[in-house]
C-alpha cells in the first residue's frame, strides 16, 4: 500500500468524519447519536467529528427503517460520499425495520437500499453501543489494512 494511502487511512482511522442521516426514525436513535457528542460520552475526543455534508464524510451513521419517501435521498447521499466509505446502521429499525417491519411505507432496513458495514442494534442504540460499534469498525479497518 502506497505511503499516501497509508497516511490517508491513518487519518481516517484516527479521526473519522461522520455524517448522521435519519431515514424516517422515531428520533430516539438520533438523539442518542447527538448525545454521543456531548460531554458525558464525547466522541470528539476520539477524533470523530460530525460533519454536515456527505462529501466530507467517511462514516455514515444511519438511523431509521428507510421510508419509501426518503429512499432515493439515502441513495444519493451514499453516492456523494467519497471512497472508502462505511455505513453504520444505528438501531434495530435500521438493522431490520424493528417495530415498523411490515408497515406499508417502509423498506425495513438500511441494507435493503445501501451496503452496511456494521449493525448496531438497540431500541434505541445507546451512546455506549454506538461508540462501541464505531470503535469496532475502526479496529476491523486497521486489521484489514495490515493485510
Amino acid at each position: 500500500m502506497g505511503v499516501i494511502t497509508k497516511v490517508v487511512n491513518w487519518a481516517r482511522l484516527k479521526s473519522p468524519w461522520v455524517l448522521h442521516f435519519n431515514t424516517g426514525a422515531c428520533n430516539a436513535c438520533d438523539i442518542e447519536i447527538v448525545a454521543a457528542l456531548t460531554p458525558r460520552y464525547d466522541i470528539e475526543r476520539f477524533g470523530m467529528i460530525l460533519k454536515g455534508t456527505p462529501r466530507h464524510a467517511d462514516v455514515l451513521l444511519c438511523s431509521g427503517p428507510v421510508t419509501k419517501q426518503i429512499e432515493s435521498r439515502l441513495k444519493r447521499i451514499y453516492e456523494q460520499m467519497p471512497e472508502p466509505k462505511f455505513v453504520l446502521a444505528i438501531g434495530t429499525c435500521a438493522c431490520s425495520g424493528g417495530v415498523f417491519e411490515g408497515c406499508y411505507s417502509v423498506k425495513a432496513g438500511i441494507d435493503k437500499v445501501i451496503p452496511v458495514s456494521a449493525y448496531i442494534p438497540g431500541c434505541p442504540a445507546s451512546p455506549k453501543a454506538i461508540i462501541d460499534g464505531v470503535a469496532k469498525l475502526l479496529v476491523s479497518l486497521e486489521e484489514s489494512e495490515k493485510k
Binding site: 442521516f21 424516517g24 422515531c26 464525547d42 455534508t53 419517501q69 426518503i70 408497515c103
Partner: protein, 412 residues
Amino acid sequence: MHNSQDVKVPFGPQHPALKEPEGFLITLRGEKITASSVKIGYNHRGIEKACEERTYIQDLYLIERVCGICSHSHATAFVQAVEEIAGLEVPKRALYIRSLIGELERIHSHLLWLGVAGHEIGFDTLLMYTWRDREVVMDILALLTGNRVNYGMNTIGGVRRDITPAQAKEVLKAVDILEERTKYYIKIATQETTIIERLSGVGVLSKKDALKLGAVGPTARASGVARDVRKDDPYAAYGELDFKVITAETCDVYGRTVVRVLELMEAYKIIRQIIKNMPEGPIAVRAPRKIPAGEAVSRYEAPRGEDFHYVRSNGTEKPDRVKVRAPTLANVQAVSKMLEDRYLADMPIVIAAIDPCFSCTDRSIIIKNSGSKNSKTIPWEVLHIQSIEWYKERRGIDFSGLNRKYAKGFKI
C-alpha cells in the same frame, strides 16, 4: 425593486440540530421571505394502518415509537383511550407513576430543546451544558424504567414497574440538582443581552394568529394562549396536582424559550408533589385481551403540545381504527406565518422554536406560492452558518464571546 427568487432549503440530511428530514420551499424577495411551504412526509411509516393489524399490546409498543422524544406521551395517550373503552379503573398509584414519567420526559425534552436552540443561534456551549445536565434525567429514567428512551412503562390497565422508596429518593436528588442548573439557565436567558437581542421579535405569532392557526403547547403559550391539556382536560394524576400553566406575552422565540425554561421549574414542583403524595396500592388492573366495541378520545400534554389520540374498537383483540394527531402537525402551519416577511437568516431558529418533531407529525403542506423563474437549493448546514453570519454582520449579535465566557466555567 422586484427581485424574487425561489430558494429551496432542503432540511435533508445535513441538519445536526433537528435530526429529522423535511423540506422547505421559500420564496425570497431580496433577503425577505414572502412565502413558504413545507413538505414533509419523509417520516410517514404507515403506523395507523399497522395498528389495525396488531393487537392492542403490540400497538402499545408501536405507538410508543411514533416519537422517541415523547414516547411516553404517545403511549399514555393511546393506553388512556383503550382503558376508557374497556371501562377499566386504573389504580391511582399507576396514574401517579405515569405522571412522574411524563414530567421527567418533559424535562429531558425541554433541556434537549434548549441545547438545540442554543446551537441554532451559534451558542454552542449552551448545547453542551444542557445536554450534560440532561444526562441526569436520562440516568433517572434508565433507573426507573430500564431504558434511556422508549420506556415501556405503560401497560393497558396501569404501569409495568413500581417505584421503590430508594428510587424515589434518587429522583428527588436529581430534581434538586436540575433545579439549581435550571436557575442558571434562567439567569442566562434573562440576563445575557446577546440572547435577548437575538431571540426577541423573531418568529412573531400574535395571539390572534395562534388561535386562528390552531397552535398548541409552548408555541401557543408564548403567544398568551393559556392552552394546556393538563389543566383543560386533566388526565392521569394532574387533577390532584398543583401547578401553573406558564404563558408569555412576547409572542416570539424569546417567549417560547422563557416558557420552556419556566415549565422546567414547574415540572420539578410537580415531581416533588408526586413523590410526596404517591398513593399506595396496586400498579395495574387486569385488562381483557378483547376490548369491547366502543370508541374514545384521549388527549395528553406532550412537551410540544396537545397530543390527540382516537381509538375505535370492535370487540376483537385488534383495534378497528387508531388515529394519532401529534402536536407538531398543529404547529407547523404557524411556521409559515412566523416566517412571513422575515429574513432567511431567521429560518433556523424560528423552525427550531416550535420544537418540531417530524416523526410525530405526518406532514403538513402549506403552499402559498408556486411558479418560479430562478431557484436554488441551500443545504441546511449552509443556511445555519449563513444565519449566524447574517446576525453577526447586520445586528452585531455574536456568540463567540459568550461561548468563550461559558466554556471557561464548563467542566465535564
